[in-house]
Structures are given as structure tokens and as C-alpha cells.
């Protein structure tokens, strides 16, 4: 479980996060949504420790990130898996080497042991026969799968995904969404996804946090988001005619 208490973060005179509280539970997929510039990425990077908030605390299962020493911080980071928006695979390494990289760096396993683990996770993300390929030879969807494989290879307790569907076709996006949700459930990971993909919101949003101008404007589940009368959320989520119709149909069905 990750508890975020009143975090604030500024860049120069611009306050980007203005006191956000949130709880992300184990075994659940939580989504952070909001318009561009709402502070989603800064919030996620603050959770990851890539930004240091000026105020507030982030607690990872009792470990307060701010109070951790260098070694404990490194240990915590080994419990974190991250899927970046552009996959962030190492260009000079093959798929196999990319996935093997964290094991090589943090364990003393032999090459056959490492290869076994790599093959297990690559199979788990349904990626066969790509071990020796370089990232540039893969499609966007395949790169995302490799990124997920690399993120879960060390059995992380926490999985963070920044826009995992960006640049993917709708069908592949759904496959990636479902894969993340299955993995979260299977390994009981605390998963936090930063997205503005409304399909993801409807499909896998067990918990949704809506950020607006650096504050938490709404919190609920994918079912509750249909019923909410919060204007900002309705404006953002149901901005397209299709989603307006979907919402109306859902409300009509609920009332009848």
C-alpha cells in the first residue's frame, strides 16, 4: 500500500502539486487522470522519487520515503517497477538483455538462472521469439510488453505506468491494459497508472483519482465515475459525444 499525505511540489514560482492526499491499495489498479498540465506526471515522478516534494510524505508499506537512508532508498527502488510512456528500453541491448538487466544488477544469479526468469516473464507478457531482437526492431505494442516484462522481472511490490497506452492502436491498448490488470491481481502488486485514455478509465479503473490544477478534484471507481456530478470530471471524461452517449445509456439503465 502507498499512502500519500499532503504533498506539494513547485518549480520556481509555479506550484504544480498543491497538497495531494491519496491511498493506493495492494492488488488494485489505481488510475491518475487529468488534463495535460494538471500535475499527473509530476505526481507520478514524486512517487517514484525522481522529484522531491517540498512538503508532505509518501509511505510505502510503513517506509517513509523521505526518512530513508541511501541503502534503504535503493532497496525501496528495487521493489518498484516502472513502465515509461516511451517504454525507455535500452537501445543498445536486446530484448533479453533489457529484461535481464535488473537481475544482473541486483542479484548474483547465474546466466542460466537469469535466462530462465527472463523467459518466464517474457512468456507472461505473451512475447515469444523476440529475445534476440533490439528495441528498434519491435512494434510499439511489443516494446510496451518488453517494458512491462522488465518492470516485473524482479517481482516488484509496486508498479507504476506512465501513459502505457500512448501511441498504441485501441486493440493493442486494451491488451496492454488487461495485461497490467492481470499482473496486478496475480502478483498482488500496488499498481498506479497515469493515463488520459478513457477506455482504460472504463475498463481497469478500480480506483480513479482526478487531478485538476495540482489538486485532487475527485476520487472514485470506474462505476462511480458514470454517476458523478462533479463538473470538472464530467467535462474531462465525457468530452466526446461517444462517451456522453455511453454515460447517458448507463444512467438510463440504472434508473429503469
Amino acid at each position: 500500500m502507498i499512502e500519500v499525505k499532503n504533498i506539494e511540489k513547485s518549480f520556481g514560482d509555479t506550484k504544480v502539486l498543491k497538497g495531494i492526499d491519496a491511498v493506493f491499495e495492494r492488488g488494485k489498479t489505481s488510475l491518475i487522470i487529468g488534463q495535460s498540465g494538471s500535475g499527473k506526471t509530476v505526481f507520478l515522478k514524486s512517487l517514484l522519487g525522481l522529484h522531491t516534494p517540498e512538503l508532505g510524505t509518501i509511505v510505502f508499506d510503513g517506509r517513509v520515503s523521505r526518512d530513508l537512508g541511501e541503502n534503504d532508498k535503493r532497496q525501496l527502488r528495487q521493489d518498484i517497477g516502472m513502465v515509461f510512456q516511451g517504454s525507455a528500453l535500452f537501445d543498445s541491448l536486446t530484448v533479453e538483455e533489457n529484461v535481464m538487466f535488473p537481475i544482473k544488477m541486483f542479484t548474483n544469479q547465474t546466466i542460466p538462472e537469469m535466462l530462465d526468469r527472463v523467459n518466464i516473464v517474457l512468456k507472461r507478457v505473451n512475447l515469444d521469439n523476440a529475445n534476440k531482437k533490439f528495441p528498434a526492431e519491435l512494434s510499439g505494442g511489443m516494446q510496451k510488453r518488453v517494458a512491462i516484462a522488465r518492470a516485473i522481472v524482479m517481482n516488484p511490490k509496486y508498479l507504476f505506468c506512465d501513459e502505457p497506452n500512448s501511441g498504441l492502436d485501441p486493440k493493442t491498448a486494451i491488451v496492454i491494459d488487461n495485461l497490467i490488470q492481470e499482473i496486478t491481481d496475480e502478483y498482488q502488486i500496488t499498481t498506479v497508472i497515469n493515463t488520459h485514455d478513457m477506455n482504460s478509465v472504463m475498463e481497469i479503473g478500480e480506483k480513479i483519482i482526478f487531478l485538476k490544477d495540482g489538486v485532487k478534484a475527485w476520487e472514485g471507481s470506474s462505476k462511480e465515475i458514470f454517476k458523478t456530478d462533479n463538473e470538472s470530471v464530467v467535462d474531462f471524461v465525457y468530452s466526446s459525444n461517444l462517451f456522453k452517449k455511453v454515460r447517458q445509456a448507463y444512467l438510463d439503465e440504472s434508473n429503469s
Partner: protein, 246 residues
Amino acid sequence: MNYIEHVGKYFLMLKQVFRRPQKRNVFKDALFREIEDLGLKSLGIVAFIAFFVGGVVAIQTALNVDNPLIPKYLIGFATKRSMILEFAPTFASIILAGKVGSFITSSIGTMRVTEQIDALEVMGINSLNYLVLPKVLAAVFFYPLLVFLAMFLGIFGGWVAGVLTGLFHSVDYIAGIQMDFDPFLVQYALIKSVVFAFVIATIPSYHGYYVKGGALEVGRASTQAVVWTSVVIILLNYFLTQMLLG
């Protein structure tokens, strides 16, 4: 950001670079990769330029020594001194600043803008140590070898040029390169090459690591890295010459 801030940030970067590597095996692999990328792949260009510059120095010296009272062996002597004192350590470093410096900045800069460095940090890896330390060690240990090679090929190039053009005799040239040999000058050249190798590995790394933006900014950072590396090499060349030979 002003120059003083950049210098401060550069030294803070070095503090992170010079830490004990987190995993010896991974570091060893990275070191060999860098020796290949930064060192072995520069052999050709350094050898080519050194050979022809040596030839040009010998020909120009020969053409300018038209006084019959000046012995011909001075051509070999002048070529040897030029190659050992300046060309091999300094100009070879300027060439490497262009070739290797732009490679280092663009490779690290691309890793920055594609979030690969963030990925390393999230994994709990000291990205500066992982990316820059192998480059520094590869450069510092390999470049003196390149400088030796440049010295040898430059002097050899001078001999080939003289023999082919008939401007001087082989015997005179060889007598010139054997004359008044001072081993300290080779030491001086090696000290300079080690210092310049450090500069060639670290300044472009700094420019690449802290780049912000996209492909255009990476390109600009590469250009800036080459310019600043060359400027620092030229300044250090002056101070080292003053300190060691003055």
C-alpha cells in the same frame, strides 16, 4: 545558468561519477564496451591524420630549410619534436574531442530525452556512475596508447614523405629523430594525454546528461560539448606546458 553554476554542477556530477560501481561484472562489461567505442574505433582516424600531418610537417620543414648551413637532419628532429610535443597529445585530443565528444553527448543525451536515464534511476542505479565512469576509465587508460601511436605514425609519415618526394635523405631524417632524445618530453606528452582524455570523457558527458528537450537540443548539446571540450583542452595545454616545461 551562468558559467560558474555550470562549473559547480560539473564538479557535483564528478562526485557522483567517482563512486564504487554497484556491480563489478556489469561495470567490467561496460568498460570493455567503452574501450571499443571510444578507443578502438578511434584508431583509424588518429592513425590516418597523424601519418599525413607528420608528412606535411616534414615537407614544410624541408622546404623552409634552404640555407646550406643548416643541416638536413634538423628536418627529422623538428618533425619528431612537433609530433611528440604538440601534435600527438594536443591535436589528436582535439580530433578526439570532435569524434568521441559528440558521440558521448549524443548517446547520453538521447538516453536522457527517451527516459532511459530515468529508468536507471528508478531501478536504484547511480546513472552517472554507471554511464560515465566506464567512459572516463576507458579514455584515461586507452588514449595514451593512441597518443603513442600518433607519435610513431607521425614520425614515420615524415620519413615516407621525405623519401617519396626526395626532399631529404632517409639517413639524415633518421639521424634527426635519434638526435637529442629527451624521455621527459614523452612523459610530458603522456601527462597531457591523460588530462585531455579525462576532459574528453567528462565534459561531453555533462552536456549529454543534463540536456533537456528533444532531438534538436541533443544536437545543440553535442555541438556545445565539442566546442567547450576543445576550449578547455587548449587552455589546459597552455597551463600544463607552462607548468611542466616553463
